[in-house]
Symmetry: C2
Subunit: 383 residues, 2 copies
């Protein structure tokens, strides 16, 4: 049942799996690289006296979360309640980097917040969210930590001005069942720009945060936490002095977007999708067994359809030009030698986070060359 | 733990779930609509004396596959071996609409083909595929049915000419462990064109198939099956007289692509993603709790980023302009009244197939207004 050309690694009498044993498409995480990425980010945080709160949305894995916490992470960020339900198994300091405005989610969060020695915080950008969380906190006999979400330029969520952030903070301060813990932002607009623009965007984020903090202080309110985020800006977090913590996610594995942003090197990409060439019948093209149901149909950030759907490691001149659900069509007309039918190829996905979420299981390439299964524990946890 | 405004439906002493009980984002299938879609396609097939072989990639559901078979489908198409492993539980006539060139998949297919009263066929477009499948069939003591994949213009897989199809068919005919069953094509290029171009594209498909069949006959080879496919061209299958069967997938649920192609009406869309407005802090915008991890980041076919990431049923003027993994940003600047914070919205996804595959479970809206869980049995089955 194993593919041809399998390499076996024997350890005593137990045959361990190697990378050629596993079925394709298979998401393989090189543990050596991932562990190095984890350590580097933890070192940066220590060096700048910042708390690191990795976002678990990227790996959705308890094993990887444990490694981040062991390396010194102060806690974890999660996007959704169902992700919190998974990550609470290894982490007693969770932040829901996502607003909650409905009673079902709020009740579930109040339940988590009420557990012994468990810290749970939620970011909010509306009075409705404050009301719903306060009601749930009171009903559940617990207190939910609140961060006020300030829009610093990405224009996705967050109140628009320091004044609006003050009013929301005051509402939190007045309410029972919730506790004002600080300020939250997502500086997603800062990345992918030229150096001078990046510097001015970072300064604008700092201005918005510090103006808000001054205003809060004038009204007797204090932010214990000021939380920023995103992998592209992670190593510039110290250039936003207001921040006490940052929430990068992708850095643990990196991807083609990170390469394209210049925030990692090829050797920092821990995740590749191993796939097989299943057709070369159409001239100038080969087809791999990975489509949008394995890679996701995410374009390269800032790119268009022509930028393709992933980077084929050993054939940089090949271009994944079209994805069906299970087919990846690769233009090999610019390659000196085209990949052969049946050959295995490694693809660095454009965006690793949705790619991880598509896998029933991922695989970990261990330092000794063997392969272990890596459950995607919070896969599909969108509630 | 249930959201505010829940409607309860009581049947005897059992409280049944209604659509407001379920957490969002939630993929809801209106069973009345899906069943009507199933029946209509079955009626069309009967009327034109064609075999209907629904592609299970869309629903990935045993319950829905059973309904298709009960309505008269001759068998099912699947994309991958792992999907076959699921669908074989309800179907004894499976076609793998996907080439196999590796020993692991071939051995698994030979195993399935060797089961009592089970028909398994595979389409191929290379000699390697024939060799690998023949070896596996011989090793497993079974015979695998083979269809030769002819490229009729989509240029994804398939041999390019009738002559190449003849040579491949002769190789199948010579080999042991495999059996030549017919011809296969995917006319994905025919859809989305003006009527006159569609007619000429259909004629070109018929020409390519009939030329191949004539050539086969001259060499003593016969195609018991000639298999076409795709929802956009499904109801034109009788205009390709060479076809004995067709393999539409999406028709069971339909989606925004189908609407845009004109191959369904709004009332034929059985699947909506129910989501909640979680932020309206940024002017001119609301944010829903469904991003690329719920809707998929598939663009509208033939559209670009501006065409948005789904159709909000009750707010047709709203546009889902940007997806993060868990955020859907909706431009509501053209709406008379914007959706309110906390409001539930129903979204028709651009492409229902990857959307289904992202769900841990879907939900079925029953004719009596209650809701039942609908497992996505073959979710993530990419091997």
């Amino acid at each position: 049942m194993y593919p041809a050309g399998v390499r076996y690694a024997y350890f005593g009498k137990i045959r361990m799996l190697s990378i050629n044993d596993i079925h394709t498409p298979a998401l393989v995480i090189d543990l050596t690289v991932a562990q190095r990425n984890i350590s580097r980010m933890a070192d940066y945080a220590r060096q700048h006296n910042l708390n690191l709160r990795p976002h678990s949305k990227t790996h959705k894995s308890l094993a990887m979360a444990r490694r981040q916490l062991d390396a010194g992470a102060a806690g974890l960020a999660v996007a959704k309640v169902s992700e919190a339900h998974v990550m609470i198994r290894v982490c007693n300091d969770l932040m829901l980097a996502y607003p909650i405005v409905d009673h079902a989610r709020a009740a579930a969060i109040a339940d988590l917040a009420g557990r012994k020695s468990q810290m749970v915080r939620v970011c909010v950008d509306s009075l409705l969210a404050v009301d719903v969380l306060a009601s749930a906190g009171q009903a559940g006999g617990s207190v939910i930590g609140i961060l006020v979400d300030l829009d610093v330029g990405f224009h996705r969520t967050g109140v628009p001005t320091p004044q609006a952030a003050l009013e929301l903070a005051q509402a939190v301060d007045r309410a029972k069942g919730v506790r004002l813990d600080g300020l939250f932002c997502y500086p997603g607009n800062v990345s992918g720009q030229a150096a001078r623009q990046t510097a001015s965007a970072l300064a604008a984020v700092q201005d918005a945060l510090s103006q808000t903090l001054v205003l809060w202080e004038q009204h007797g309110l204090r932010a214990q936490i000021v939380s920023g985020g995103s992998t592209p800006t992670a190593l510039q977090s110290h250039q936003i002095p207001a921040l006490t913590e940052f929430r990068p996610g992708t850095y643990i594995y990196n991807d083609r977007n990170c390469l394209s942003h210049g925030c990692c090197l090829p050797e920092d990409c821990a995740a590749t999708l191993v796939c097989t060439v299943i057709s070369n019948a159409v001239a100038g093209k080969v087809v791999i067994d990975a489509g949008s149901k394995s890679l996701s149909s995410d374009r390269l950030a800032g790119g268009d359809e022509r930028s393709g759907f992933g980077l084929i490691v050993d054939y940089p001149q090949a271009r994944i030009v079209r994805l069906s659900e299970e087919h990846g069509e690769v233009d090999v007309s610019q390659c000196d030698t085209a990949p052969a039918l049946g050959q295995r190829l490694r693809v660095i996905p454009n965006h690793i986070c949705p790619c991880v979420n598509l896998q029933n299981t991922a695989w970990m390439l261990m330092p000794d060359g063997t392969i272990e299964s890596l459950p995607v524990d919070a896969r599909g946890a969108t509630w």
